[in-house]
Symmetry: C3
Subunit: 166 residues, 3 copies
């Protein structure tokens, strides 16, 4: 069953499920590296990954009481992301950020802006937003190109010769 859809392009599509600092850095490094090789890059942010695209400290529009509680503990903002390991109530993550500065590594915020300026496409998962009570006004409109669901993801991914779930 070969068809038009299966002509892959020089394209990479990443699902950014994780909201962890280290995984975000990995995803953004792959994205930026891909643009230097002239690849088209799409990032589909879903679940905790959406935290990187949320405004910092933005008040919740969640109606459901449990959505409100969830938004309190699940903080947004690209500077609030924890490490997947050694977070240590923030201490390990703070240490990692200091190390990154010391060796002139770029922060998640800098990498997000760099990726955007290089033409990386940012898609935010609308289904997760509905589930977690996150409104479009809670999101970073300077970064996001499109709000969409799984069918949009699949349409990007089926044309890509590199697909990853991060």
């Amino acid at each position: 069953m070969e068809n038009e859809n299966l002509k892959t392009e020089d394209k990479i599509t990443l699902i950014v499920f994780s909201g962890d600092l280290d995984k975000l850095l990995a995803a953004l490094n792959i994205a930026v590296g891909s643009t230097t090789l002239q690849k088209q890059v799409s990032l589909f942010f879903t679940f905790w990954g959406l935290n990187a695209l949320r405004k910092t400290g933005k008040a919740s529009k969640a109606k459901h009481i449990l959505q409100k509680i969830f938004k309190l503990i699940n903080k947004g903002g690209s500077n609030n992301l924890p490490l997947s390991k050694f977070h240590f109530a923030g201490g390990g993550t703070w240490a990692m950020k200091q190390v990154m500065k010391a060796v002139n590594m770029q922060s998640v915020e800098e990498m997000l802006k760099l990726a955007k300026s290089l033409g990386v496409k940012f898609i935010a998962c609308s289904m997760t937003m509905d589930a977690l009570g996150i409104a479009q006004e809670d999101m970073r409109e300077d970064l996001i190109d499109e709000y969409a669901g799984v069918v949009t993801y699949l349409t990007e991914a089926e044309k890509s010769n590199i697909n990853l779930f991060i």
Copy 2:
């Protein structure tokens, strides 16, 4: 080195390694979405992912004492899956499930049955089952199509134009 194997089909193969509620939901949403686009879908459940296909509360057939201990702490059943973040000894996971009900999102159990009814192929990793002392009678035969190992996975994946490790 191009050969017959490399003719990719309109097919998606996911390794479901994680047993976390949120990652299972992501995998099942991708699987169900893929069927609406007429894709063939195979899910290869391994390690903690097998918990979603285990019967709830089923007594262990594990012979080794440590396998028995491991089965006590590593609970099966699609309703017993923790969140990858904010599990909080069950409290965060409970809150998430309440939110999902409030916004009419389907549970893992509902998504498993929906995926099955739409023709998604469920493969359970036999090597992990041996290692963790999980017998076929501990597993949900209403869901599982096949018990198999890594070679079967690779044979599915090499024909797929979308491959993910979740």
Copy 3:
């Protein structure tokens, strides 16, 4: 936009981001299984995944004080890897290793050597090494084929018909 790059080969490229025992075993099982099917296999170790390729107990060459602290808590060596779940300050991981021995499953160390002997290519991410203050002399030269960055990864991945992020 089809080009020479897009002729995929019978090749599999895995990013090994995780340093967890269970995920390492999954990656190495897929790698070894792939060689039995005559596939070329490249493993790109980055972030915590590098721990599996570090010498055990090797003193740090890190100059920055925070890099030194980080190396103390982020232990290297293929026998020091924790489980992603149920690590329980080492108890759960110890139990898992005992179970693996009891059922004659191979350890990470054995799987690394087996993969190496079967021609699997080991690439260590040089950017992460710089960031975490890990020097080449801290690394297992019996395993590593190449130190490289994201562009090398992408060049491997774009030719592969199976790509995973583990």
